[in-house]
Subunit: 188 residues, 2 copies
Amino acid sequence: MNATRKKEIVKIAASLIKEKGYNAVSMRDIAQAMNIKAASLYNHISGKQEILSSLIIEVAEKFTEEMNTIASENLSPLQKIERVIEIHIDITVNYSENIATLNNDWMHLEGSALKRVVKMREDYEENFRKIIKKGISEGEIKSKHPEVILFSILSTLRTLYLWNEKRGKMDVNVLKKDMVAVLLKGIV
Amino acid sequence: MNATRKKEIVKIAASLIKEKGYNAVSMRDIAQAMNIKAASLYNHISGKQEILSSLIIEVAEKFTEEMNTIASENLSPLQKIERVIEIHIDITVNYSENIATLNNDWMHLEGSALKRVVKMREDYEENFRKIIKKGISEGEIKSKHPEVILFSILSTLRTLYLWNEKRGKMDVNVLKKDMVAVLLKGIV
DNA sequence: GTCTATAGGATGATAGAC
DNA sequence: GTCTATCATCCTATAGAC
């Protein structure tokens, strides 16, 4: 019951689950990728669910922390949105497999882990929504439906992980600058 | 072996797969939702794979057709992008469950259906990329990395289905107008 | 900490009666 | 066209030896 070994399991599982989805990856698949037998996994984790919840909660907490920090900072709404874009890029670079699982397999969580993740997601969106609404009321953001703005920015940021390989040679800071420009100022 | 009955099966399967994913929905689940037994499904379809491929190929072909039409039209690059946004909204409204499955479960397709769908997706992206590059070279689009623009617009459009319920009362034409405005002109 | 063996249940699919 | 019965296979997880 070694904590390091557990992290190894979760990490390998993450890369398999990213490619095929939670239900298509068996304990045997995970074990094989570690060159051990499936039964041996249970010395380090309680079951498949624990792998899923570790994986998802790790990155969900990261997003929650960062968003709470931004919300409390003394910045204009537009500056806050820039910061949100930046933290999404940073977290995506470091946790791209966890994000894939958070996006695609959160509904396979059970019990309290499911509730917690759904709550974190709702809070995150609500924080973002408030920033956008404040920006609109202060005239810093063009008054469109705030939901359309929230949705279009967030859906781009949430699927950044799909693009993480293609990024490859592209510098993270260049990507941040371009992404901020495209999402805030458009393309025309 | 009635074609209407097959469509019913595919339609019901689509709504279940949208919620839980292909691998989490069993033939027994699908049968139960139709008030028949699992074995009876096989009088109308050859297997679970056929449900998946019908579902995905139907909507993938729709996107391919519409994109080919746009590519051949006599419009400016910016007008073409507007058209792309509009057809995504139209197709999403009419096929939201198929799109969920196309996005999340395409990798569970097998054999020639997999190859075909991957090819259609690549061709679609390539058409879109050409439009953006032409817009940049003609000065109609600000010269950012075309891949950043392609990715940010396409990821928003591809996940529109997640937003289809929330849209609810929002008129489709208003949504089109706002989405075009946000994606092309930004929010500042 | 890893193994073999296996329990106990779900799954996709088929055979054959009605 | 739907049913019951069933097969072969896969799954998560546990027990107990080393």
